[in-house]
Symmetry: C3
Subunit: 155 residues, 3 copies
């Protein structure tokens, strides 16, 4: 039991751990700015807002990534997860550096979340096909998904 | 391995996907109001607050729904999840439309979360009964739970 | 299938349920202060801020605890989870009671999250060892982890 479970989720766990490290990095930044809030309230406001926006979408990201990984295949899901973390890092750093007039918007990583969302739907759809029509396209779908995940690298 | 896992969670995955869609809808609303914050700061404040309240309870909801689905049975858990999403939609729309004097409170969907919570406890309790007394009431419990979940439809 | 799954996660589910109860307690406190925000805005501000800080780190905590429990062993992970909840309770109560000058910082429970994080890494590492070197240290690692989790009790 143990090995089979870990075999199917270990990549997802690794991406989750990286995201936790990133959360800790964000939290430390907020903590640091929180201590000198009196000298620079604008910077604290910005970093706190960036952190809150990142944290708002964190459960959504985790849920979609794990569902995609469990329903279809873990390699493309983890790959998309890593790219999402890179985008989030850029967003956070960009938010901190900018003046308040030109802050980036509330949303980020829409394309990656959409890709993971599609993966979930394809996985569920494939399961229903297997169950009711007993025709299994999982192999093809996995190959196509792995190839398609490379498209996320496009800027 | 793959089919067995997906068979036991596919309804939960579908509800999770719907909730992700709803989150995206909320985020788009916030994004839209964020762009015209200068013309209507009160509306931005309201939609942002509604979104934050919804996002605050989102991890709790996901955790309870998945635990209930895994420990007892996925059909009533997903059904309760769908009703929770409907209540959340009503809450969000109500929050946006109201003036600030009559906004709905901080909490919503208490009854549904309580029902899911009870499902978890019953599931754990049943597991402990199976383990230590080797008496399995799972069939009865599942029937009762499915019937009881219809009570959530009461206004 | 059902019994095997529940056997390996029931402690994690129990800790998750306790954390949900705690979230409900926090939310009720916020709701209560929200109703009398006009008479005591400072208290509402404090309780709302404490709640937000707790909720910000909640998905991270859940993700790390479940990964640690799935990858290595559920008993020490749940034990660390319970201690985290105690620390969080102390943090919340301390935040409410203090005046705004001496509020505790943004972060709490760093040591426990770090311990759970280490558990995940050890679990993944052990899995990779099993796979590529076919040498299984899981028994030793579990014993060491259980013993090490007692160290979290140190103040």
């Amino acid at each position: 039991m143990y090995s089979i479970v870990v075999e199917n989720i270990y990549m997802l766990v690794i991406v989750t751990l990286i995201s936790v490290l990133q959360n800790a990095f964000f939290a430390l930044k907020v903590e640091k700015e929180c201590r000198r809030v009196n000298t620079n309230p604008a910077a604290f406001e910005r970093v706190s807002c960036a952190n809150r926006n990142c944290m708002d979408s964190y459960p959504t990201f985790l849920a979609v990534m794990w569902c995609a990984g469990l329903c279809l295949s873990q390699a493309p899901a983890s790959f998309a997860g890593v790219i999402y973390l890179v985008v989030r890092q850029k967003y956070f750093v960009g938010y901190m550096g900018q003046t308040s007039q030109s802050t980036p918007g509330y949303l980020f990583g829409k394309r990656i979340l959409f890709f993971l969302f599609l993966m979930c739907i394809v996985g569920i759809f494939n399961y229903l096909l297997v169950r009711f029509c007993s025709s299994d396209y999982k192999e093809y779908v996995e190959t196509i998904t792995s190839a398609a995940s490379a498209l996320l690298l496009l800027p």
